[in-house]
């Protein structure tokens, strides 16, 4: 039986013949992996977290009486479209990394996981450039309500991306030390769930914050 088949057999740990299989301490009674369930619970709560900041942005960006730059003055849609596209494609490399580790192709796993981290780093680089440009145009976090809500929302998303990059690089490092195997694919999948969530949040932010008519 291969490692992945052992993992498939799953939630029950093989036991000597004639005895009931022992339950896997990492899965609940229903066979749902505890770590994966915990990640989905976290992501569900994170929807509300980001929802709060998006709602705050929508509430404050057009408040009358604000001085300083407005969204129309500072947004660079072509540039943000490119960085958004890069983040979107990082989701593809992430699932390819997961598929590679699940079939035991560790070399490709390392290539795809590092590509995902590099795409994420490129996105963060783009965000730093965008923030610098906004500051140069006179928009800071304390300039007006639009600036405060924009920088906090996109900054918190950027922090999520940064945490994801650290997570991916640590998985790459573990793989380099041969400490990631087919049986550990759930660890990669959970990191992937987090990464894809960061991507879907940006899908919403990109449309609602940048593209919708002002």
């Amino acid at each position: 039986m291969t490692a992945i088949e052992q993992s498939n057999a799953g939630d029950l740990v093989p036991s000597p013949a004639g005895q009931d299989p022992a339950p896997d301490p990492h899965s609940g009674h229903s066979g749902v992996p505890n770590a994966k369930l915990a990640m989905w619970l976290f992501l569900s709560s994170d929807c509300l977290f980001f929802g709060a900041f998006i709602a705050t942005y929508l509430l404050y960006r057009d408040r009358p009486g604000q001085t300083g730059p407005t969204p129309q003055d500072v947004y660079n849609i072509p540039f943000t479209s490119v960085t958004s596209f890069i983040l979107l494609m990082s989701s593809l490399t992430m699932v390819l990394a997961l598929a590679a580790v699940q079939r035991g192709d560790y070399r490709r796993f390392r290539v795809w996981i590092m590509a995902t981290a590099l795409f994420g780093a490129t996105f963060i680089g783009g965000q730093i450039f965008e923030f610098t440009e906004f500051t140069r145009k006179g928009l800071n976090v304390d300039t007006n309500l639009f600036g405060s809500s924009f920088f906090i929302l996109t900054g918190i998303h950027g922090t999520h991306v940064l945490i994801g990059i650290i997570w991916l690089v640590s998985l790459w490092g573990l793989s380099m030390q041969s400490r990631i195997s087919q049986g550990d694919s759930e660890r990669v999948e959970i990191a992937g769930l987090y990464w894809h969530f960061v991507d879907v949040v940006w899908i919403v932010i990109f449309t609602v914050i940048y593209l919708l008519p002002k």
Binding site: I4, E5, S7, N8, A9, G10, D11, L12, D20, P21, H29, S30, G31, V32, P33, K36, L37, W40, L43, S44, D46, C47, L48, F50, G51, A52, I54, A55, L59, R63, I77, S81, S84, F85, L88, M89, S91, L92, M94, V95, L96, L98, A99, Q102, S185, E186, E189, G192, L193, H196, F197, D199, V200, I203, V204, T207, V208, L211, L212, P213
Partner: protein, 145 residues
Amino acid sequence: MADTTDTQEIEVAAGSAPARQGSGHEPDLPQGDLAYRMSHAAPNLLPGEIRAHPDPWQYVVVAVVLAVITGVEIAVSYMEGDIPDGLIVVLLLAMMVMKFILVASWFMHLRTDKPVFKRLFIVGAIAAPLLYLIVLATLHGVLAS
């Protein structure tokens, strides 16, 4: 209640992957036995799955569709002034929802994992916009006055 749902999910797994049933020669165990079904219904599946994950080429197809939708989104956003703003808003929001669903169902494997994950995520994904639409509707009037 939870056991009933779990058993139903496992039955779905068995039904969706008949080729993975093995030899078809099953030992004389109670068919309703949850532990037996969990360990034998679909031996190629990882814990928490009801169907196998997609192939890599399917991921690539989804990524191409996502890229095309993003291109259309950007093109639509530049039509401001040429078509009514209301239509732009509807088109952009529809494309945003399509991209969201594609990533969640294919890349996050909600279409192949046990429904409990989908339910959890839907609660957050539906509750967030509902809650904040109420907040926006309430506070927008308060702040305006």
